[in-house]
Amino acid sequence: MELTDLYISLFLTFLKIGVFGFGGGYAMLPLIQQEVVDVHGWISVSDFTDIVAISQTTPGPIAFNSATYIGYTAVTEMGYAQGYGIFGSAICTLAVSLPSLVIMTIVCVFFFRLKSNPWMQASLSVLKPAIIGLIASAALMLMNGHNFIDYKSWILFGVVLVASLKKVDPILLIVLSGIAGLFLYPA
C-alpha cells in the first residue's frame, strides 16, 4: 500500500472512531477493535489487548493511547522508517480528537439550551444502557483463544475480577498479573 493511502485510511478510520466514540474509554474498544483488527488488520488481537494493558498503566484515555500506538505500528509494520511512524501516530491522534473539538465548540454555543433539551434526553435514554452493552462486548470480544490460552488464564481472570471488585488499584493488578505470568509460563 502507498504510504499516503495508508495515512488517509488511518485518518478516516480514527475520525470515524472519534465521531462514534460515545461513552468514552471501554465503550470505544469494540469499535476500535473491529476497525483496526478485523477490517484493516493493522494489528493482531493480542497486540490490541497489549495496548489496552499499556493504556491502563499509563496516563491518558484509551482512545488516544490506541490511536497513537496503532498509528505508529501500522506504518512501521509496513516497513517504513520510524519518522513516518511518528507522523502516522500524530495523524491518528489528531483524527480521533477532531470530532470532539468540532462538537464541543458547537456545544459551547448551545450549552444551556442543550441541557434540558427533550430530544437530547430521549436519545440518551437508550444510548446510556447501550453503552453498557458496548463495554460488555469489549470484554467478550477479548475473551478469545489469543488472550485465554489455558486454564491458568481463567484463574488469573477470576482472581483479578474479584480483586478489582474489591477496589484494588488496577495498575497494581496489572503489575502483579505480569509477575504471575512470568511464573505461570516458564520458558
Binding site: 472519534g18 466514540g21 468514552g24 471501554y26 474498544l29 469494540p30 469499535l31 473491529q34 478485523d38 489487548t49 494493558a53 491502563q56 498503566t57 496516563p59 491518558g60 484515555p61 484509551i62 488516544f64 493511547n65 497513537t68 500506538y69 505508529y72 501516530s89 470532539s100 473539538l101 462538537i103 464541543m104 465548540t105 456545544v107 450549552f111 427533550p118 430521549a122 437508550v126 444510548l127 446510556k128 444502557p129 453498557i132 452493552g133 463495554i135 460488555a136 462486548s137 469489549a138 470484554a139 477479548l142 475473551m143 485465554f148 488469573l156 481472570f157 483479578v160 475480577l161 478489582s164 471488585l165 488496577p170 493488578l173 496489572i174 498479573s177 509477575i179 505470568g181 505461570l184 509460563y185
Partner: protein, 272 residues
Amino acid sequence: MSYCRIGRLGNSSITFYKPRHVFDINGGPQPSGFVFGRTADYKDITTLKSCHTEFRLIPPVRLLIESRLAIVYTDFAICFHFCDTATMSTGRQYWELFLVFFKIGAFTFGGGYAMIPLIRREVVEKKLWLDDNEFMDMLAIAQSMPGPISLNTALFVGNKRLGFKGSLFSGAGIILPSFIIILLIAIVFTQFKENPVIERIFKGIRPAVVALIAAPLLGLGKSAGVNLKNIWIPLTVALSVWLLKISPVYVILAAILLGISHYLFTRQTMKK
C-alpha cells in the same frame, strides 16, 4: 513606600504601590505599581477577575517574582489571583490553560472517570474557572458527547475561558502527555515484542485486562439507569456486537433513533 491610586476598574478600585512601569493599562505605558494594597471594593474574586482585560503585563516574569515578595503588603488571596489571572497577558493565559491540562493529562492513570476529581480540583477549586454547578452541567454534557470525557472537559473549559483558540490550547495540553508516553512505548515495545520474557509477562496480563474491563460493568450499569425493564438493551447490544459482529456505529445510530422514536410515540399518546 509610595502608593498610587489607579482609579476605578469595573466596580473596583485598585491601589498600587511602587509606581513603576509594570502595567500597561488600556494601551500606552503609564506609571503604575504592580501589586495593589488595600482593596476595599474587592469582596470577591469574581469582581477581580471581571476586570482582568483592562490590564496588560509588560514583564510577566518580573511581576511574578516581585508579587511574591510583596505578599506581605497585600491580601494573599487577592494578590495571588491578581497575578495569576487578572494581570496575565493573553498569551500567558493560553499558556496557563495548556499547562493546567497538561498536568491533568500527565497524572491521571486509566483515563475517564479517574480524571474527574482531579479536573474538578484544578478547574473549580484552584483556578475558579467554573463554579460547582457549571462543572456538573459540563460533565453531563461531556459524558453524553462522543469522545473521551477528559478531552471533552478540557475543550469545554478552554472554550468557556478563552474561546475557540483557548480550547485548542487546553486540548493540546490534555493530549500531549499521553501522546509522548505512548509514542516512546510504541518505539521501544515494537523492538522487544518478540522477547520471550516480555511475551510471558503479557500472557499473564492479557486475561487481567479483560477482567479489569468487565469488573466495573455492574456499577456502571447501575449509574446508567439499567433496570429489569431495559436490561434487554445492553444484552442485545453486547450480543449483536460480539457474536453478529455488527459495527458499534450502527448500534449507536439505532440506539439514538430508538430513543427519539420512543419519545415521539409517548408524546403522541400523551396528547391523546
